[in-house]
């Protein structure tokens, strides 16, 4: 028996994110928790989930225990439906064939803008982050799910640098910036599940994770949160979810922390 009360934050992120995906969707997934969560959804409830990777893969069906270290490795193509060029797979985002973009984040702000470039001043940064990769394309062109650890320094009023745009400055500013489609759909953390207000485009708590209070979420967030009128509580991870997840990542590459 798996003890369902004991799990890591990453396991929580992967399981809650997987629940956001629907059978038959086309998902463009980044490496790490997104790749793992999409694969988990495929094994649990959505055998017809089509996973795309920026390396040039459509319809990935990653093998348990053989998780790729990046989305540009040959393991991403195992039993895939199609292999194609990087520019070509990104054009599918542009054309509108992708339902959901799904990635991790280092820093996010109240409008869902993501920073994976610089902490501090971009001309003289305190810390350099890994950079954009395909993240800007994904967030510019799809409805996004972001899975990330919840810390005050990661959830900030305004990101130091917008690498991947969310709703920019809220309201209609995203469309006015030249991005007519897509936007932030969900943010998943170990504390709560978030969506964005339809009008103001401010981040909003949809549901608290089991045992987490409003105050805990607010205390770990660097801006004032809105809470949904029908604030829910997420279902805890089931045994089936946890065992399947651990079967997929037996070396605990992405679920250790």
């Amino acid at each position: 028996m798996t003890d369902t009360t004991r799990h890591t934050a990453s396991e929580m992120l992967a399981i809650l994110s997987a629940r956001q995906l629907k059978e038959g969707q086309v998902v463009f997934a980044g490496v790490g928790v997104p790749l793992l969560a999409a694969t988990l959804a495929q094994r649990l409830r959505c055998p017809g989930l089509t996973i795309l990777f920026e390396g040039g893969v459509i319809g990935a069906f990653v093998e348990p225990g053989k998780l790729p270290p990046s989305t540009n490795d040959q393991r991403c193509t195992k039993r895939a439906n199609m292999v194609l060029g990087s520019a070509e797979v990104l054009l599918l985002l542009q054309r509108g064939y992708v339902d959901i973009g799904f990635m991790g984040g280092a820093q996010i702000d109240k409008y869902g803008n993501l920073n994976s470039s610089f902490i501090g001043d971009s001309d003289n940064p305190k810390t350099r982050l890994p950079g954009t990769g395909g993240g800007n394309d994904i967030s510019s062109l799809t409805n996004m799910i972001v899975a990330m650890k919840h810390e005050k320094r990661r959830f900030v009023e305004h990101v130091d640098f917008i690498t991947s745009p969310g709703f920019i400055r809220g309201g209609k500013s995203r469309a006015e910036s030249g991005l007519p489609e897509g936007g932030m759909f969900r943010v998943i953390t170990e504390l709560a599940v978030f969506s964005f207000d339809e009008t103001s485009r401010l981040m909003k708590v949809l549901a608290l994770n089991p045992g987490i209070t409003r105050d805990q979420v607010q205390d770990n967030t660097g801006f004032d949160l809105i809470f949904d009128d029908q604030l829910g509580v997420t279902e805890p991870p089931t045994e089936h979810e946890l065992t399947t997840l651990r079967m997929l990542d037996p070396d605990r590459l992405f679920i250790a922390g």
Partner: protein
Amino acid sequence: MVAQDAVQPYKELRQNLARRDRSLREKVVTLEEAASFVRDGASVGIGGSTMSRTPMALIWQLIRARKKELSCSRCIISTDGDLLLGSGVSNHIVSSWFAQGGSDVGKKRLEAKEIDCPFTGEKLLLVPALNPDVALIHVQRCDAYGNAQIDGLQFMDIDLAMAANRVILTTERIVSNDQIRRSPDQTKIPFFCVDAVVEVPFGSAPHECYGVYEPMMNHLETYVKQVNGDPVGGMKKYLDQHVYGLKNWNEFLSLIGIDEIVAASRRGRSIFDD
């Protein structure tokens, strides 16, 4: 329904796509059902080129269904173009490739626009995007979802599939999704671009399908003689005898004749010799 030379704005293209049922589902239909997806007046992109991988069975069915005012586009037309115009199904065919400075082709194509390159100042000619209402593409094999594999010459079929607002595939064979997944390198069109799949062996006859059969030249030569000799009467006779009156596509193949089909298949497979 979009006029051939009106460029669809990005937002409209995305919205059209959002309205399509792009879910993973089996899309296998009959030739008759597939033809019903093509509305009178539609802009239709035709895959293959000249006598290669022409979606002939589907064109044949569009003629039988007495479609009207189709506005067609293709790399290079051949007898497919004759039949589309001669049967009255199409009244407009746009064919192949751009033209650059100096020629009179540019003067005839007023939709093209000249700009100065924002980086180097050099003169550039921009050609408007073509996003047909529907694309008709014939492939060697695909699965029931529409993951399509094309061997050999691909012409402009991949761009066509991406550009179109709907895609109908005809295929020599429907194979399992497992078979597709064993050679993902060979997949050229992903299922989510595809709206219908029809299995039609020899679906490109009397044209060729790479690696499966070469063109059936005896049939084509007889056809050309008949139509060149008497453009109106010859075409009417061909349509009556080879298109309208027949029970099904196999009956058309039987008119080509088993000898020619076997010989064309033997030549078709010979591309893999050595």
